[in-house]
Subunit: 410 residues, 2 copies
């Protein structure tokens, strides 16, 4: 796949009230010669929201950041520490201790409440993360901050083959507002080294409760609509913070029409980042969009979409450019959601494959196969029982995925 | 993997009251030079039970056989027709018509109720199955039946690399009773060509309602406890029939102690067949047993087991003989079932890997890796919240799986 860096963002693009610093702290293996610790500092008054992995074996930093959000009615943020190389997951009480030591140190240093310091870690599971490495790293950071978002995105990479960054300019009232986001993840696919992390920032004057609602909604259609191999990390974290410095009137309600342009831009920025993660899926050679319609509910549509997207048989057929549509029928059938066999319409690209409970009369396998030879594949299915829709994104399953994951640590 | 044929059964082993016939009918491609149609005839008075795929896009033969069972209070059977080469799935009303024509023809020929004729088909999805091929096949079958179970098992193969057959002799009261079973499937993994089918026969004098209860219970611990790649076929069918010719007193109740020896033997025979299917999993190089204990319920234990068994990351790590236990933690976490992080005990073989919410103090990666270099892998996990257990079986995920499934039809 064309792994082009989507650097729509000038790497030194600034967002007033946010300072970025990176350093090599020694958590990663030194030969990688790349920073592994990112500190994001925000001015006083910054609001924050977050969504996290649903894993029941969530990492210590996830538990800490979640607690920050629920322990305050109006969550605020002064710092986010992100390290790559060690996930601090399944490290027992030692894992929690590391988070406490680091966040206490930093809240003392910058003189804020410990609940205003968030943390996210990605890397190996089950290895103790030494807090001293992080503290020494924080001490050694250059106080002459250059706000280099590309360097920040680069620092949080693990198996990612490129940095993931996206930005938007939009309007609230007549005031120009910025949104910048960085992410990491080669899919949610290698929790020992490839958690999905996302950090999104804006200067919009929006309170934390409205940020939270905006984030959850945008998250459903972006990071929660992608899959590489169905595996879920212990560390997935998306934080969304606002400096509130933009000069428009404050937003009082999430449904105000003044927010429409901002919402559109936030949604498309997060979808951008999510798609970049899929494109960087381990071993991926094709990007696959799966559109489900005619489902009995939104949730059913998404479940059917993921049943197709996660099917190894569908993913290998697409890797082999084989219009083996029986596997799509199988995946719809195994989802457990309602579908009317005799009304299911499957399309590969624009080619109608099935109709009236069987192969469509004019179906051309040649046309379908031609579409599968492209790099961006679209599979659509109307399951014929309702009006609900969902779109999910995935990649194909190739020999390279096996090579990366069977041989990874050796 | 050592794909040895488990021919504990003499291929001409007989079960009084059952006649087998096979023929090449032309449904399969002729160059395969192998029979593709099996007819099993049973004497009057034979009882039958069945379990089927839960797919909502089930094939026409599945729908027909299910209807047979529910349309009679005491289901009986005179014939089972099985073809390989075409699944007759997603073939709309034409699929149902084919089943009707074939079962009507046969019920007329052998003078029985159409509800006593069962059918199962496996092969390509979405291609119309021509009933004339089957009828001509049935007409051409040799009336001089030799009861060759091995040949029967061979006829129903598709991508299977060996025939699957198992038998038991057991006691009810003091009377010797036979059980014979055949199966096909290289996992539930390639619904276009590798549905899971199983046919089990006994001479025990057991009525259909008790057969049904015995089958469902044994099925939970055998065919419902295996996975190759999480994909479910449109055609999975297991039928269990009894000639009732054995001379013990009739069984009145499924909980009679007189049935204990029979139950044990039925369970172990079905587990045998299920394991043979996993061992024949496409591209499989290792057979993996996953034991879950300490779960909050039986269902939770099975869900956690399948979450591990279906994780591409776990399966590729095992293929790579890499003791990457973080992936097992991830899979437990993503199952959505309760687990106490600080009480989870994971074992690779006999080696304790985790304890107290982190890597066990004396854990030796060398010992764990040594176990992973074997052909039969055992992963155990106590999740520390209850007393329920489950065992599931799977195989690893290798380059060969990708080759078989990405390149299959080409």
């Amino acid at each position: 796949m064309n792994k082009n860096k989507s650097n729509e963002v000038e790497s030194t693009n600034n967002l007033d009230g946010i300072k970025l610093s990176t350093i090599f702290s020694g958590i990663k293996k030194p030969f990688k010669n790349k920073d592994d610790l990112l500190l994001i500092q925000l001015d006083e008054g910054s609001a924050i929201a977050g969504v996290f992995t649903k894993s029941l074996t969530a990492s210590a930093p996830v538990i800490h950041s979640k607690n920050n959000l629920i322990s305050s009615e109006k969550p605020s943020v002064r710092a986010i520490i992100v390290n790559s190389g060690n996930a601090n997951a399944f490290t027992g009480h030692l894992g929690e201790k590391t988070v406490d030591i680091v966040t206490d140190f930093l809240s003392n240093k910058i003189n804020c409440n410990p609940h205003e310091v968030f943390m996210a870690s990605t890397g190996v599971i089950g290895e103790v993360l030494n807090p001293e490495l992080i503290i020494n790293g924080l001490k050694g950071m250059n106080s002459n901050h250059e706000t280099n978002w590309l360097k920040a995105a680069d620092t949080i990479r693990t198996t990612d083959t490129f940095s993931k960054i996206s930005s938007r300019k939009c309007l609230i009232d007549d005031v120009e507002v910025d949104i910048i986001g960085i992410a990491k993840g080669s899919g949610m696919i290698a929790p020992n080294m490839a958690t999905m992390l996302g950090f999104i920032f804006t200067n919009a004057n929006i309170s934390s409760d409205i940020l939270q609602q905006l984030l959850q909604k945008a998250n459903e259609k972006s990071f929660n609509s992608i899959t590489v191999d169905s595996d879920t990390s212990t560390s997935d974290t998306v934080l969304f913070a606002s400096t509130r410095k933009a000069k428009h009137h404050q937003i009082k309600n999430v449904s105000e029409k003044r927010l429409n342009n901002f919402k559109e831009n936030l949604n498309s920025l997060m979808l951008d980042l999510a798609k970049l993660i899929v494109k960087d899926g381990e071993g991926a050679s094709k990007f696959i969009t799966i559109n489900i319609s005619g489902a009995s509910s939104k949730k059913a549509a998404q479940k059917i979409g993921f049943s197709i997207a996660n099917s190894p048989l569908v993913k290998t057929a697409i890797a082999g450019e084989d219009a083996n549509w029986g596997r799509i029928i199988m995946a719809i059938g195994k989802s457990g959601e309602r579908a009317d066999r005799d009304k299911i319409k499957i399309y590969i690209g624009d080619e109608l494959v099935t109709n009236n409970g069987m192969k469509a009369e004019n179906y051309s396998e040649i046309i379908a196969t031609k579409h599968l030879q492209e790099k961006e594949i679209i599979i659509s299915a109307d399951v014929g029982v309702g009006k609900s829709r969902a779109t999910v994104y995935t990649c194909d399953l190739t020999h390279e995925y096996i090579s990366i994951n069977a041989d990874y640590r050796s």
